[in-house]
Symmetry: D2
Subunit: 139 residues, 4 copies
Protein backbone atom coordinates (compact mmCIF):
# COMPACT_ATOMS: atom_id res chain seq x y z
CA UNK A 1 0.00 0.00 0.00
CA UNK A 2 1.22 3.41 -0.92
CA UNK A 3 2.35 5.45 2.07
CA UNK A 4 0.05 8.42 1.86
CA UNK A 5 0.99 9.44 5.33
CA UNK A 6 4.47 9.55 6.75
CA UNK A 7 5.55 10.28 10.25
CA UNK A 8 9.06 11.54 9.92
CA UNK A 9 9.92 13.78 12.84
CA UNK A 10 13.04 15.43 14.21
CA UNK A 11 13.77 17.67 17.19
CA UNK A 12 16.38 20.39 16.69
CA UNK A 13 17.55 21.99 19.92
CA UNK A 14 18.59 25.61 19.77
CA UNK A 15 19.51 28.47 22.05
CA UNK A 16 18.42 31.99 21.02
CA UNK A 17 21.26 34.30 20.02
CA UNK A 18 21.59 37.97 21.02
CA UNK A 19 21.73 39.18 17.41
CA UNK A 20 18.31 37.61 16.80
CA UNK A 21 16.57 40.01 19.18
CA UNK A 22 15.28 43.46 18.28
CA UNK A 23 14.41 46.55 20.32
CA UNK A 24 11.04 45.05 21.31
CA UNK A 25 13.18 42.77 23.48
CA UNK A 26 12.55 39.43 21.77
CA UNK A 27 13.41 37.59 18.57
CA UNK A 28 12.69 39.51 15.36
CA UNK A 29 10.28 37.52 13.18
CA UNK A 30 12.67 37.55 10.21
CA UNK A 31 14.94 35.06 12.01
CA UNK A 32 12.44 32.19 12.07
CA UNK A 33 12.87 31.30 8.39
CA UNK A 34 16.56 30.57 9.05
CA UNK A 35 15.67 28.42 12.05
CA UNK A 36 13.22 26.38 9.97
CA UNK A 37 15.89 25.91 7.31
CA UNK A 38 18.54 24.79 9.80
CA UNK A 39 16.04 22.40 11.40
CA UNK A 40 14.97 20.76 8.13
CA UNK A 41 18.53 20.20 6.92
CA UNK A 42 19.35 18.58 10.28
CA UNK A 43 16.32 16.33 9.73
CA UNK A 44 17.71 15.41 6.30
CA UNK A 45 21.16 14.82 7.80
CA UNK A 46 19.59 12.45 10.34
CA UNK A 47 17.97 10.60 7.43
CA UNK A 48 21.41 10.20 5.87
CA UNK A 49 20.99 12.68 3.02
CA UNK A 50 22.39 16.02 4.15
CA UNK A 51 21.32 18.92 1.96
CA UNK A 52 24.94 19.56 0.92
CA UNK A 53 24.83 16.10 -0.73
CA UNK A 54 21.54 16.89 -2.44
CA UNK A 55 23.09 19.96 -4.06
CA UNK A 56 26.11 17.87 -5.11
CA UNK A 57 23.61 15.62 -6.93
CA UNK A 58 22.59 18.68 -8.97
CA UNK A 59 19.39 19.45 -7.12
CA UNK A 60 18.34 22.73 -5.49
CA UNK A 61 15.49 22.84 -2.99
CA UNK A 62 14.40 26.49 -2.87
CA UNK A 63 11.52 27.57 -0.65
CA UNK A 64 8.30 28.20 -2.60
CA UNK A 65 6.04 29.11 0.31
CA UNK A 66 6.08 29.83 4.02
CA UNK A 67 3.22 30.11 6.48
CA UNK A 68 4.11 30.99 10.03
CA UNK A 69 2.12 31.77 13.17
CA UNK A 70 3.99 33.62 15.90
CA UNK A 71 2.23 32.50 19.05
CA UNK A 72 4.55 33.57 21.87
CA UNK A 73 7.82 35.50 21.77
CA UNK A 74 11.26 33.88 21.91
CA UNK A 75 13.70 35.58 24.27
CA UNK A 76 17.49 35.82 24.35
CA UNK A 77 19.20 32.74 25.75
CA UNK A 78 15.94 30.73 25.70
CA UNK A 79 16.44 27.09 24.92
CA UNK A 80 13.90 25.93 22.36
CA UNK A 81 13.08 22.79 20.41
CA UNK A 82 12.18 23.03 16.75
CA UNK A 83 10.17 19.97 15.81
CA UNK A 84 10.12 19.26 12.06
CA UNK A 85 7.79 16.76 10.44
CA UNK A 86 7.29 15.38 6.94
CA UNK A 87 3.81 13.93 6.83
CA UNK A 88 3.15 13.73 3.09
CA UNK A 89 5.06 11.95 0.37
CA UNK A 90 6.99 14.52 -1.73
CA UNK A 91 5.96 15.07 -5.34
CA UNK A 92 7.44 18.05 -7.15
CA UNK A 93 7.41 19.65 -3.72
CA UNK A 94 8.04 18.59 -0.17
CA UNK A 95 6.28 20.05 2.84
CA UNK A 96 7.92 20.56 6.22
CA UNK A 97 5.69 21.16 9.25
CA UNK A 98 7.17 22.95 12.25
CA UNK A 99 6.34 23.41 15.89
CA UNK A 100 8.66 25.47 18.05
CA UNK A 101 8.37 24.55 21.71
CA UNK A 102 9.81 25.92 24.91
CA UNK A 103 11.77 23.58 27.19
CA UNK A 104 8.61 23.27 29.28
CA UNK A 105 6.60 22.24 26.22
CA UNK A 106 4.69 25.44 25.41
CA UNK A 107 3.94 25.97 21.73
CA UNK A 108 5.65 29.21 20.65
CA UNK A 109 5.36 29.08 16.86
CA UNK A 110 3.99 26.80 14.18
CA UNK A 111 4.80 26.90 10.50
CA UNK A 112 4.71 25.14 7.17
CA UNK A 113 7.51 25.53 4.63
CA UNK A 114 7.25 24.06 1.14
CA UNK A 115 10.37 23.44 -0.95
CA UNK A 116 10.47 22.64 -4.66
CA UNK A 117 12.96 20.38 -6.42
CA UNK A 118 14.92 22.17 -9.14
CA UNK A 119 17.49 20.74 -11.52
CA UNK A 120 20.45 23.03 -10.83
CA UNK A 121 21.72 22.82 -14.44
CA UNK A 122 18.49 23.43 -16.32
CA UNK A 123 16.84 25.45 -13.50
CA UNK A 124 13.67 23.46 -14.27
CA UNK A 125 11.24 22.02 -11.75
CA UNK A 126 11.66 18.26 -11.28
CA UNK A 127 10.05 15.49 -9.24
CA UNK A 128 11.54 14.49 -5.90
CA UNK A 129 14.53 12.29 -6.76
CA UNK A 130 14.13 8.56 -6.11
CA UNK A 131 16.94 8.50 -3.50
CA UNK A 132 14.94 11.07 -1.56
CA UNK A 133 11.59 9.22 -1.84
CA UNK A 134 13.17 5.86 -1.08
CA UNK A 135 14.87 7.19 2.00
CA UNK A 136 11.62 8.63 3.34
CA UNK A 137 9.74 5.40 2.58
CA UNK A 138 12.37 3.41 4.43
CA UNK A 139 11.55 5.23 7.67
Amino acid sequence: MWPLDMKISHNYEYRIKYSETDMMGFVHHSNYARLYENARWELMRKLGIPYSEIEKQGIFMPVVSIESKFIKPLFYDDEIVINTKITKLPTIKVEFEYNILSKSGNLLNSATVVCAFIDSKTQKVMRAPSFFINRLNAE
Copy 2:
Protein backbone atom coordinates in the same frame (compact mmCIF):
# COMPACT_ATOMS: atom_id res chain seq x y z
CA MET B 1 -21.59 53.91 5.93
CA TRP B 2 -18.79 52.07 7.60
CA PRO B 3 -15.72 51.61 5.42
CA LEU B 4 -15.42 47.83 5.30
CA ASP B 5 -13.01 48.07 2.44
CA MET B 6 -10.04 50.34 2.22
CA LYS B 7 -7.69 50.91 -0.66
CA ILE B 8 -4.53 52.13 0.94
CA SER B 9 -1.57 51.31 -1.26
CA HIS B 10 2.11 52.22 -1.38
CA ASN B 11 5.00 51.34 -3.67
CA TYR B 12 8.41 50.89 -2.05
CA GLU B 13 11.28 50.81 -4.53
CA TYR B 14 14.26 48.69 -3.62
CA ARG B 15 17.47 47.37 -5.14
CA ILE B 16 18.63 43.89 -4.10
CA LYS B 17 21.78 43.82 -1.98
CA TYR B 18 24.67 41.38 -2.37
CA SER B 19 24.40 40.13 1.22
CA GLU B 20 20.82 39.05 0.50
CA THR B 21 21.88 36.39 -1.99
CA ASP B 22 22.90 32.84 -1.14
CA MET B 23 24.93 30.19 -2.97
CA MET B 24 21.92 29.29 -5.16
CA GLY B 25 22.64 32.66 -6.79
CA PHE B 26 19.52 34.57 -5.79
CA VAL B 27 17.93 36.14 -2.71
CA HIS B 28 17.64 33.84 0.32
CA HIS B 29 13.99 33.55 1.36
CA SER B 30 14.73 34.70 4.93
CA ASN B 31 15.29 38.26 3.64
CA TYR B 32 11.73 38.86 2.44
CA ALA B 33 10.28 39.36 5.94
CA ARG B 34 12.59 42.35 6.40
CA LEU B 35 11.56 43.77 3.04
CA TYR B 36 7.87 43.51 3.97
CA GLU B 37 8.61 45.26 7.27
CA ASN B 38 10.53 48.09 5.65
CA ALA B 39 7.77 48.51 3.06
CA ARG B 40 4.92 48.69 5.60
CA TRP B 41 6.69 51.23 7.81
CA GLU B 42 7.29 53.37 4.72
CA LEU B 43 3.55 53.10 3.99
CA MET B 44 2.84 54.26 7.56
CA ARG B 45 5.36 57.10 7.17
CA LYS B 46 3.56 58.20 4.00
CA LEU B 47 0.31 58.21 6.00
CA GLY B 48 1.96 60.53 8.52
CA ILE B 49 2.35 58.05 11.36
CA PRO B 50 5.83 56.54 11.14
CA TYR B 51 6.24 53.38 13.21
CA SER B 52 8.84 55.10 15.41
CA GLU B 53 6.03 57.45 16.52
CA ILE B 54 3.67 54.55 17.17
CA GLU B 55 6.22 53.01 19.56
CA LYS B 56 6.66 56.41 21.25
CA GLN B 57 2.89 56.29 21.90
CA GLY B 58 3.50 53.07 23.87
CA ILE B 59 2.33 50.66 21.18
CA PHE B 60 4.23 47.71 19.72
CA MET B 61 3.10 46.10 16.46
CA PRO B 62 4.69 42.64 16.45
CA VAL B 63 4.08 40.25 13.57
CA VAL B 64 1.63 37.47 14.44
CA SER B 65 1.53 35.69 11.10
CA ILE B 66 3.20 35.61 7.71
CA GLU B 67 2.16 33.88 4.53
CA SER B 68 4.48 34.20 1.57
CA LYS B 69 4.58 32.71 -1.92
CA PHE B 70 7.96 32.83 -3.66
CA ILE B 71 7.00 32.94 -7.33
CA LYS B 72 10.19 33.94 -9.12
CA PRO B 73 13.70 34.54 -7.76
CA LEU B 74 15.11 37.98 -7.00
CA PHE B 75 18.65 38.54 -8.24
CA TYR B 76 21.49 40.78 -7.06
CA ASP B 77 21.15 44.39 -8.20
CA ASP B 78 17.58 43.82 -9.43
CA GLU B 79 15.32 46.81 -8.98
CA ILE B 80 12.00 45.77 -7.53
CA VAL B 81 8.81 47.40 -6.33
CA ILE B 82 7.17 46.20 -3.12
CA ASN B 83 3.50 47.12 -3.24
CA THR B 84 1.84 47.17 0.18
CA LYS B 85 -1.92 47.39 0.67
CA ILE B 86 -4.27 47.73 3.63
CA THR B 87 -7.69 46.58 2.45
CA LYS B 88 -9.45 45.86 5.74
CA LEU B 89 -10.09 48.09 8.69
CA PRO B 90 -7.79 47.13 11.59
CA THR B 91 -9.32 45.61 14.73
CA ILE B 92 -6.94 44.08 17.26
CA LYS B 93 -4.86 43.27 14.20
CA VAL B 94 -3.94 44.90 10.93
CA GLU B 95 -3.29 43.03 7.73
CA PHE B 96 -0.74 44.09 5.12
CA GLU B 97 -0.93 42.58 1.65
CA TYR B 98 2.19 42.53 -0.50
CA ASN B 99 3.06 42.07 -4.14
CA ILE B 100 6.69 42.27 -5.18
CA LEU B 101 7.06 43.21 -8.81
CA SER B 102 9.96 43.46 -11.21
CA LYS B 103 10.56 46.76 -13.02
CA SER B 104 8.80 45.24 -16.03
CA GLY B 105 5.77 44.38 -13.92
CA ASN B 106 6.21 40.62 -13.38
CA LEU B 107 4.87 39.29 -10.09
CA LEU B 108 7.80 37.80 -8.14
CA ASN B 109 6.32 37.27 -4.68
CA SER B 110 3.06 37.80 -2.87
CA ALA B 111 2.51 37.79 0.85
CA THR B 112 0.25 38.67 3.75
CA VAL B 113 1.65 39.88 7.07
CA VAL B 114 -0.58 40.40 10.10
CA CYS B 115 0.53 42.62 12.98
CA ALA B 116 -1.07 42.83 16.41
CA PHE B 117 -1.36 45.94 18.58
CA ILE B 118 0.31 45.51 21.99
CA ASP B 119 0.43 47.95 24.88
CA SER B 120 4.19 48.19 25.46
CA LYS B 121 3.77 48.75 29.21
CA THR B 122 1.31 45.98 30.03
CA GLN B 123 2.36 43.73 27.12
CA LYS B 124 -1.36 43.12 26.57
CA VAL B 125 -3.19 42.96 23.25
CA MET B 126 -5.16 46.13 22.50
CA ARG B 127 -7.40 47.45 19.74
CA ALA B 128 -5.94 49.55 16.95
CA PRO B 129 -5.53 53.04 18.44
CA SER B 130 -7.97 55.67 17.26
CA PHE B 131 -5.24 57.86 15.72
CA PHE B 132 -4.38 54.86 13.54
CA ILE B 133 -7.98 54.08 12.53
CA ASN B 134 -8.79 57.74 11.92
CA ARG B 135 -5.76 58.17 9.72
CA LEU B 136 -6.70 55.16 7.59
CA ASN B 137 -10.31 56.32 7.32
CA ALA B 138 -9.16 59.74 6.18
CA GLU B 139 -7.53 58.21 3.09
Copy 3:
Protein backbone atom coordinates in the same frame (compact mmCIF):
# COMPACT_ATOMS: atom_id res chain seq x y z
CA MET C 1 53.28 61.66 -12.10
CA TRP C 2 51.82 58.58 -10.52
CA PRO C 3 48.64 59.23 -8.55
CA LEU C 4 49.68 58.04 -5.12
CA ASP C 5 46.72 59.74 -3.56
CA MET C 6 43.18 59.69 -4.80
CA LYS C 7 40.20 61.54 -3.48
CA ILE C 8 37.26 59.52 -4.54
CA SER C 9 34.37 60.05 -2.18
CA HIS C 10 30.68 59.17 -2.08
CA ASN C 11 27.85 59.80 0.38
CA TYR C 12 25.29 57.04 0.78
CA GLU C 13 22.15 58.11 2.63
CA TYR C 14 20.39 55.50 4.70
CA ARG C 15 17.60 55.18 7.22
CA ILE C 16 18.02 52.60 10.00
CA LYS C 17 15.66 49.63 9.77
CA TYR C 18 13.81 48.04 12.71
CA SER C 19 15.31 44.60 12.08
CA GLU C 20 18.79 46.09 12.52
CA THR C 21 18.20 46.87 16.20
CA ASP C 22 18.73 44.45 19.07
CA MET C 23 17.42 44.33 22.65
CA MET C 24 19.99 46.96 23.75
CA GLY C 25 17.77 49.32 21.78
CA PHE C 26 20.14 50.30 18.98
CA VAL C 27 21.73 48.79 15.86
CA HIS C 28 23.48 45.46 16.38
CA HIS C 29 27.13 45.74 15.33
CA SER C 30 26.84 42.84 12.87
CA ASN C 31 24.78 45.04 10.53
CA TYR C 32 27.53 47.57 9.78
CA ALA C 33 29.44 45.26 7.41
CA ARG C 34 26.38 45.14 5.13
CA LEU C 35 26.08 48.92 5.24
CA TYR C 36 29.72 49.33 4.22
CA GLU C 37 29.16 46.87 1.37
CA ASN C 38 26.05 48.63 0.10
CA ALA C 39 27.84 51.98 0.31
CA ARG C 40 30.93 50.88 -1.62
CA TRP C 41 28.93 49.30 -4.44
CA GLU C 42 26.92 52.54 -4.72
CA LEU C 43 30.25 54.37 -4.98
CA MET C 44 31.27 52.01 -7.78
CA ARG C 45 27.89 52.48 -9.48
CA LYS C 46 28.43 56.24 -9.37
CA LEU C 47 31.82 55.69 -11.02
CA GLY C 48 30.08 53.81 -13.82
CA ILE C 49 31.22 50.30 -12.89
CA PRO C 50 28.54 48.70 -10.73
CA TYR C 51 29.75 45.61 -8.88
CA SER C 52 27.27 43.43 -10.77
CA GLU C 53 29.24 44.35 -13.94
CA ILE C 54 32.56 43.54 -12.26
CA GLU C 55 31.31 40.02 -11.49
CA LYS C 56 30.10 39.66 -15.08
CA GLN C 57 33.69 40.40 -16.12
CA GLY C 58 34.73 37.33 -14.15
CA ILE C 59 36.04 39.14 -11.09
CA PHE C 60 35.05 38.64 -7.45
CA MET C 61 35.92 41.23 -4.82
CA PRO C 62 35.69 39.41 -1.50
CA VAL C 63 36.46 41.22 1.74
CA VAL C 64 39.87 40.32 3.17
CA SER C 65 39.83 42.56 6.24
CA ILE C 66 37.59 44.85 8.23
CA GLU C 67 38.45 47.32 10.96
CA SER C 68 35.58 49.15 12.56
CA LYS C 69 35.23 51.57 15.48
CA PHE C 70 31.75 51.92 16.94
CA ILE C 71 31.75 55.46 18.32
CA LYS C 72 28.10 56.22 18.98
CA PRO C 73 25.02 54.02 18.62
CA LEU C 74 22.68 54.15 15.63
CA PHE C 75 18.98 54.16 16.52
CA TYR C 76 15.88 52.97 14.67
CA ASP C 77 14.65 55.41 12.02
CA ASP C 78 17.82 57.52 12.29
CA GLU C 79 18.90 59.03 9.01
CA ILE C 80 22.62 58.58 8.49
CA VAL C 81 25.21 59.28 5.84
CA ILE C 82 27.83 56.66 5.02
CA ASN C 83 30.80 58.40 3.47
CA THR C 84 33.06 56.08 1.47
CA LYS C 85 36.50 57.06 0.22
CA ILE C 86 39.16 55.47 -1.94
CA THR C 87 42.41 57.27 -1.18
CA LYS C 88 45.01 54.80 -2.46
CA LEU C 89 45.47 53.32 -5.89
CA PRO C 90 44.36 49.66 -5.88
CA THR C 91 46.99 46.94 -6.36
CA ILE C 92 45.93 43.37 -5.69
CA LYS C 93 43.64 44.94 -3.13
CA VAL C 94 41.50 48.03 -2.81
CA GLU C 95 40.87 49.88 0.41
CA PHE C 96 37.59 51.59 1.27
CA GLU C 97 37.53 54.11 4.13
CA TYR C 98 34.23 54.81 5.86
CA ASN C 99 32.80 57.46 8.10
CA ILE C 100 29.22 57.15 9.25
CA LEU C 101 27.73 60.49 10.19
CA SER C 102 24.48 61.63 11.72
CA LYS C 103 22.35 64.18 9.86
CA SER C 104 23.83 66.84 12.16
CA GLY C 105 27.36 65.77 11.26
CA ASN C 106 28.40 63.76 14.32
CA LEU C 107 30.82 60.92 13.65
CA LEU C 108 29.13 57.65 14.69
CA ASN C 109 31.43 55.02 13.23
CA SER C 110 34.61 54.80 11.21
CA ALA C 111 35.93 51.79 9.37
CA THR C 112 38.29 50.42 6.78
CA VAL C 113 37.35 47.52 4.53
CA VAL C 114 39.86 45.91 2.18
CA CYS C 115 38.70 43.85 -0.80
CA ALA C 116 40.85 41.56 -2.94
CA PHE C 117 40.48 40.92 -6.65
CA ILE C 118 39.88 37.26 -7.48
CA ASP C 119 39.55 35.63 -10.88
CA SER C 120 36.18 33.90 -10.52
CA LYS C 121 37.19 31.02 -12.82
CA THR C 122 40.60 30.17 -11.36
CA GLN C 123 39.79 31.47 -7.86
CA LYS C 124 43.28 33.04 -7.91
CA VAL C 125 44.25 36.47 -6.66
CA MET C 126 44.75 38.99 -9.47
CA ARG C 127 45.71 42.65 -9.83
CA ALA C 128 43.00 45.30 -10.03
CA PRO C 129 41.72 45.15 -13.62
CA SER C 130 42.75 48.01 -15.89
CA PHE C 131 39.15 49.18 -16.43
CA PHE C 132 38.95 49.64 -12.65
CA ILE C 133 42.27 51.50 -12.33
CA ASN C 134 41.57 53.66 -15.35
CA ARG C 135 38.18 54.65 -14.05
CA LEU C 136 39.62 55.69 -10.69
CA ASN C 137 42.43 57.62 -12.35
CA ALA C 138 39.92 59.47 -14.50
CA GLU C 139 38.30 60.97 -11.41
Copy 4:
Protein backbone atom coordinates in the same frame (compact mmCIF):
# COMPACT_ATOMS: atom_id res chain seq x y z
CA MET D 1 51.56 39.68 41.70
CA TRP D 2 48.99 41.20 39.44
CA PRO D 3 47.90 38.94 36.61
CA LEU D 4 48.86 41.00 33.59
CA ASP D 5 48.41 38.03 31.34
CA MET D 6 45.50 35.65 31.38
CA LYS D 7 45.06 32.51 29.39
CA ILE D 8 41.34 32.02 29.21
CA SER D 9 40.41 30.04 26.13
CA HIS D 10 37.31 28.36 24.76
CA ASN D 11 36.50 26.36 21.64
CA TYR D 12 33.06 26.87 20.11
CA GLU D 13 32.15 24.26 17.51
CA TYR D 14 29.89 25.36 14.69
CA ARG D 15 28.53 24.12 11.39
CA ILE D 16 28.04 26.69 8.62
CA LYS D 17 24.42 27.39 7.72
CA TYR D 18 23.04 27.77 4.18
CA SER D 19 21.69 31.26 4.84
CA GLU D 20 25.21 32.42 5.70
CA THR D 21 26.48 31.88 2.15
CA ASP D 22 26.22 34.39 -0.68
CA MET D 23 26.34 34.07 -4.47
CA MET D 24 30.18 33.87 -4.39
CA GLY D 25 29.52 30.40 -2.95
CA PHE D 26 30.91 30.87 0.55
CA VAL D 27 30.06 32.64 3.81
CA HIS D 28 29.32 36.35 3.48
CA HIS D 29 31.72 38.35 5.65
CA SER D 30 28.88 40.07 7.53
CA ASN D 31 28.11 36.80 9.34
CA TYR D 32 31.41 36.58 11.22
CA ALA D 33 30.52 39.25 13.79
CA ARG D 34 27.57 37.10 14.93
CA LEU D 35 29.82 34.06 15.18
CA TYR D 36 32.31 35.97 17.35
CA GLU D 37 29.46 37.12 19.57
CA ASN D 38 28.00 33.65 19.99
CA ALA D 39 31.46 32.27 20.76
CA ARG D 40 32.29 34.86 23.43
CA TRP D 41 28.99 34.43 25.25
CA GLU D 42 29.58 30.66 25.27
CA LEU D 43 33.00 31.38 26.80
CA MET D 44 31.31 33.48 29.48
CA ARG D 45 28.70 30.76 30.06
CA LYS D 46 31.53 28.25 30.58
CA LEU D 47 33.03 30.65 33.16
CA GLY D 48 29.70 30.64 34.98
CA ILE D 49 28.56 34.15 34.07
CA PRO D 50 26.35 33.90 30.99
CA TYR D 51 25.80 37.22 29.26
CA SER D 52 22.07 37.07 30.01
CA GLU D 53 23.03 37.26 33.72
CA ILE D 54 25.36 40.19 33.09
CA GLU D 55 22.49 42.17 31.55
CA LYS D 56 20.27 41.23 34.49
CA GLN D 57 22.95 42.84 36.71
CA GLY D 58 22.31 46.09 34.80
CA ILE D 59 25.36 45.92 32.55
CA PHE D 60 25.50 46.09 28.77
CA MET D 61 28.60 45.00 26.88
CA PRO D 62 28.32 46.63 23.45
CA VAL D 63 31.04 46.13 20.85
CA VAL D 64 33.31 49.18 20.48
CA SER D 65 35.69 47.81 17.86
CA ILE D 66 36.23 44.87 15.54
CA GLU D 67 39.26 43.88 13.54
CA SER D 68 38.94 40.85 11.34
CA LYS D 69 41.17 39.13 8.78
CA PHE D 70 39.41 36.81 6.34
CA ILE D 71 42.13 34.30 5.47
CA LYS D 72 40.27 31.44 3.78
CA PRO D 73 36.60 31.09 2.89
CA LEU D 74 34.08 29.14 4.98
CA PHE D 75 31.78 26.88 2.97
CA TYR D 76 28.27 25.59 3.58
CA ASP D 77 28.12 22.63 5.97
CA ASP D 78 31.79 23.09 6.99
CA GLU D 79 32.46 22.24 10.59
CA ILE D 80 34.61 24.90 12.19
CA VAL D 81 36.03 25.71 15.60
CA ILE D 82 35.95 29.28 16.88
CA ASN D 83 38.65 29.67 19.50
CA THR D 84 38.10 32.65 21.81
CA LYS D 85 40.75 33.96 24.18
CA ILE D 86 40.90 36.62 26.88
CA THR D 87 44.58 37.42 27.42
CA LYS D 88 44.42 40.79 29.16
CA LEU D 89 42.70 41.80 32.36
CA PRO D 90 39.58 43.86 31.56
CA THR D 91 39.51 47.54 32.51
CA ILE D 92 36.70 49.67 31.13
CA LYS D 93 36.92 47.33 28.16
CA VAL D 94 37.52 43.65 27.57
CA GLU D 95 39.27 42.23 24.55
CA PHE D 96 38.34 38.93 22.90
CA GLU D 97 40.82 37.33 20.49
CA TYR D 98 39.51 34.89 17.90
CA ASN D 99 40.92 32.23 15.65
CA ILE D 100 38.56 30.30 13.40
CA LEU D 101 39.96 26.93 12.45
CA SER D 102 38.89 24.15 10.12
CA LYS D 103 38.45 20.64 11.51
CA SER D 104 41.90 19.86 10.12
CA GLY D 105 43.42 22.82 11.95
CA ASN D 106 43.82 25.38 9.16
CA LEU D 107 43.49 29.00 10.22
CA LEU D 108 40.54 30.51 8.32
CA ASN D 109 40.00 33.82 10.11
CA SER D 110 41.46 35.76 13.00
CA ALA D 111 39.87 38.68 14.78
CA THR D 112 39.84 40.93 17.81
CA VAL D 113 36.59 42.25 19.28
CA VAL D 114 36.58 44.82 22.09
CA CYS D 115 33.50 45.27 24.29
CA ALA D 116 32.86 48.13 26.70
CA PHE D 117 31.02 47.93 30.02
CA ILE D 118 27.99 50.23 30.17
CA ASP D 119 25.64 50.85 33.08
CA SER D 120 22.30 50.05 31.45
CA LYS D 121 20.43 52.62 33.59
CA THR D 122 22.73 55.61 33.21
CA GLN D 123 24.11 54.52 29.79
CA LYS D 124 27.54 55.56 31.14
CA VAL D 125 30.80 53.72 30.68
CA MET D 126 31.89 51.79 33.79
CA ARG D 127 34.79 49.59 34.87
CA ALA D 128 34.53 45.82 34.52
CA PRO D 129 32.39 44.69 37.47
CA SER D 130 34.22 42.90 40.31
CA PHE D 131 32.29 39.65 39.78
CA PHE D 132 33.63 39.62 36.23
CA ILE D 133 37.24 40.38 37.19
CA ASN D 134 37.18 37.94 40.08
CA ARG D 135 35.86 35.16 37.91
CA LEU D 136 38.59 35.71 35.32
CA ASN D 137 41.27 35.84 38.01
CA ALA D 138 40.00 32.58 39.47
CA GLU D 139 40.83 30.76 36.25
